[in-house]
Symmetry: C2
Subunit: 288 residues, 2 copies
Amino acid sequence: MFKETLQHYSSMIEEYIARIPWGKDILNESMAYSLVGGGKRIRPVLALASAEAVGGNPEKVLPAAAALELIHTYSLIHDDLPALDNDDYRRGRLSNHKVFGEANAILAGDGLLTYAFEFLTEPSLGQPGQQLRVIREVAVAAGKNGMVGGQVLDIAGEGKQLSLAEIEEIHKGKTGALLTVSARLGGILAGAAEQEIEALTRYAQALGLAFQIKDDILDVVGDSETLGKPVGSDLRQGKSTYVSLLGLEEATRQLHSQTEKAQAALKLLGEKSAFLSELAVYIEQRQH
Amino acid sequence: MFKETLQHYSSMIEEYIARIPWGKDILNESMAYSLVGGGKRIRPVLALASAEAVGGNPEKVLPAAAALELIHTYSLIHDDLPALDNDDYRRGRLSNHKVFGEANAILAGDGLLTYAFEFLTEPSLGQPGQQLRVIREVAVAAGKNGMVGGQVLDIAGEGKQLSLAEIEEIHKGKTGALLTVSARLGGILAGAAEQEIEALTRYAQALGLAFQIKDDILDVVGDSETLGKPVGSDLRQGKSTYVSLLGLEEATRQLHSQTEKAQAALKLLGEKSAFLSELAVYIEQRQH
């Protein structure tokens, strides 16, 4: 049942993304290259599932869910740039700047980030007050106190021995904030009660941490073909990770404890949140 | 009277920008470095003046006006990067990446763009429906069919002999779109009638063109000290400009004709638009 629902949400998102009308120029081409080129679509899935977990219609949330994937994709394009992580591969293909050049990659990222906010103003998304709240929360989560801030901390920490608290601070920004707002956004647009939005928040925070610990584990024990990127790149770049700090065994234990924490947060939402609960297990067990 | 009003609007904006609370880290420092470091603030001035020209209160528009300057500033930081225009100086000081490094400059730009959308959700800005319309228009103007699109065309055109139509296409995106939305935004948030918003649009389109022609002229005849950047950089980069294509005399004639066109568009708005009319003359005659 979980696999079918995941497939259903993924198809909704892929179809929505496939229908985005792109122009014929190099900018549109490079934006589409990175967006359409796969990825797990965790953020939009989280948005759709969160809307459904509070009794909303996931279909209605689609433009906002897609906006999250646009923002995630822009952040990957900029992260991969030579001045940042200098990664040649992403999602199993050449990274954007390897195909379109650095200038176009920077601008493709800018274009995707900006386009995301256009998606968030889609009139079908619902009541303007809710929509404004969502736009504000997304801007905060993606910005200097969220994703961009985490990215800067990450770069500043390269080659340094970081503490566990410092690593958590980086990931709360770099991946946690956008994952958390993905769940909140689904709840808000579905008209959830504040208490339900809070439950989704606690769920997504634990899920985000689990996601990151798993990422660090996969960088050590994963298979580069399944992952679509080289294994061991954190190590080579001298990054402190959960694994380098805690060891594989303790990192695996913490991954499991965050997964349980995520599931516990869903109690308030009852049966409707079964998919979210299984999603946490799926993330704990993923191989890519 | 014009000088006093311009000074008044500028002070409002500078004071508003000076009150933005920045964190103490390098990301906040680099964002603030480029934003606070001067500039003509044409876009926010245009927003405040347009609100007042339709009978609105410019004070109320300030957060949105500041957002325009954040977006403009982000675009300058990214434009100056080595992979793009590779400019070491901006507004008379070292460009962002020369001070903070390329990685931080890319992320400072990302942070400013994202922060701009947070400003646009400021609850004091007014009625949610108007606000959503403004956010959508700003996203379109700043995005792939506006500013970012113009920037990509600009880069693609370097070293090529462009036609006048191609140059206009570049500038419509690169500078025109954001200038136009600045005026529209002031009108929309002030609750202007559609006809008034249309008049502001025609005004700003002509003003934007005039602004760009003047930029090209100043790159040839300007004084690098007054400009705060080296003269002749378009020429060195092999860029086609209004001056390289039309000659100085014809470019100056077209500058004047666009200035008159901008003024003519204001007829509908009457006396309240006197400042906007004089602003067009000011832009025609500016030395930096």
